[in-house]
Amino acid sequence: MQQTPAATDYGSWKLMAWTGPAFFIGFFVFWGIVAGNLPPMAASTPAEAMWQHYKDLQFPITLGMSVCMVLGSCYMTFGAAVSRVMRRIEGVDGMLANIEMMGATITYCPIVIACGIWLTCAIQIDSLTPPMVQFGYRLAWMIIDLAYMVTSWQIIAASLVFLRDRREHKLVPAWVSWWGFVTVATFFPVSLVPFFTSGPWAFHGSFNFWIAFFTWYIWIVSMSFFIIRAVSRIEVEDGAADSAPVEALRPAPSFVRAS
């Protein structure tokens, strides 16, 4: 890894950008496949069947959820990497970069709480009654689903800033930003989740699970890809500025400008 004496630590920046793939691959494997959430158990499943589901999958759910609670934090570090790229477009005083980072960080909270509830349902299964399992399972879904607006703010902030990028080849292409707006749009009907146990608007339904979550997932995957590339591109841009004959061309590090 390259040593940089200047203010910008590209190494850890790149490392944080790579936590994006760690998040989306880890969640797909441990939440989706290991814990058997693809497709998720239906909201309309009777309590006894929910209890049996947790009894049958006790170990896979315990394993999957405990890994996810740890890996979920990668959404925060990924958000920080995105925020730093946004700062290069928005300027050091930009508010949207802050909103993006806070949105990503707070998104981790419902994820860790929901996974913790599902985890506890699994490890405690022998001492829980079926209605208690049903309560826990649905509680976790309500928390994770209805927290969508915090993630929406994150995505709106990132999309607005990346659309304003004046580079000839934007750091993050315009279609990713517009995909972000689509993701935000698909989140709103998630508000219907408390009112349905079957059909497209239930938390396992065709819209509120398969469309809303997968448009978000595709956003994370594409954003990760372009953020990893953006950090390398910024490193090259800075290098070009460094080798320019006039030293003053180089943007001063933020702490110098602030003083």
Binding site: A174, W178, A185, F188, I211
Partner: protein, 193 residues
């Protein structure tokens, strides 16, 4: 030949059509979900459909089509650099958006008064959710038209600065286009006797 190729372009902001396309695909999926559920309960959906007033839907279609025309004319005037002629067309489009919203509110009020809610049955669930999702698009678009109208009055749009106006117009035409299909799907899909 070359000249023709050079003229071919997608209007509006770069990447906008991804949003338009995905939004349309999502609505298509919602249409198909409606048809799928209708297939399981044709009688219930037909009874529900008959409680709707097609006059509301038809008039709303006419309103949105006129609104689309106003926006299209505003774009044409901008291309012709007739700056003073742009704001009235956008104002017309904006008031059509308001009229659509008002008509929808009246229609909802009538349905709720008559005791129909999204909880009534599967048909009413689809009716309220689909029209409400579309109405959210209309409300967003109406706000957008108000902003465009205000911008046009300061001379913000002309033949070399079209992107913002074009993007707004394309979004508004999409809202119109979705209603053109949503209206017959909910109001006019008659089950054979």
């Amino acid at each position: 030949m070359g000249a023709v190729a050079a003229e071919r372009r997608l209007p509006g902001a770069e990447g906008l059509w991804v949003f338009i396309g995905v939004d349309m695909v999502i609505f298509a999926i919602l249409f198909f979900t409606f048809l799928d559920e209708r297939h399981d309960a044709v009688a219930l959906f037909e009874a529900g459909r008959r409680t709707l007033d097609p006059n509301f839907g038809g008039v709303n279609t006419l309103i949105l089509l006129s609104s689309s025309w106003c926006v299209a004319m505003a774009t044409v005037r901008a291309e012709q650099d007739r700056l003073e002629a742009i704001p009235p067309w956008l104002a017309g489009a904006f008031f059509c958006g308001l009229a659509f919203t008002l008509s929808k509110v009246l229609e909802y009020a009538g349905k709720l008064d008559a005791g129909f809610t999204p909880a009534t049955n599967a048909f009413y669930m689809h009716y309220f959710v689909l029209t409400a999702l579309h109405l959210l698009h209309v409300i967003g678009g109406t706000v957008l038209l108000a902003v465009l109208w205000k911008m046009a009055r300061t001379g913000a749009f002309h033949s070399r600065r079209l992107v913002v106006l074009e993007s707004g117009a394309i979004y508004w035409h999409m809202v119109d286009l979705l209603w053109i299909l949503l209206f017959p799907l909910l109001y006019l899909l008659r089950a054979p006797a």
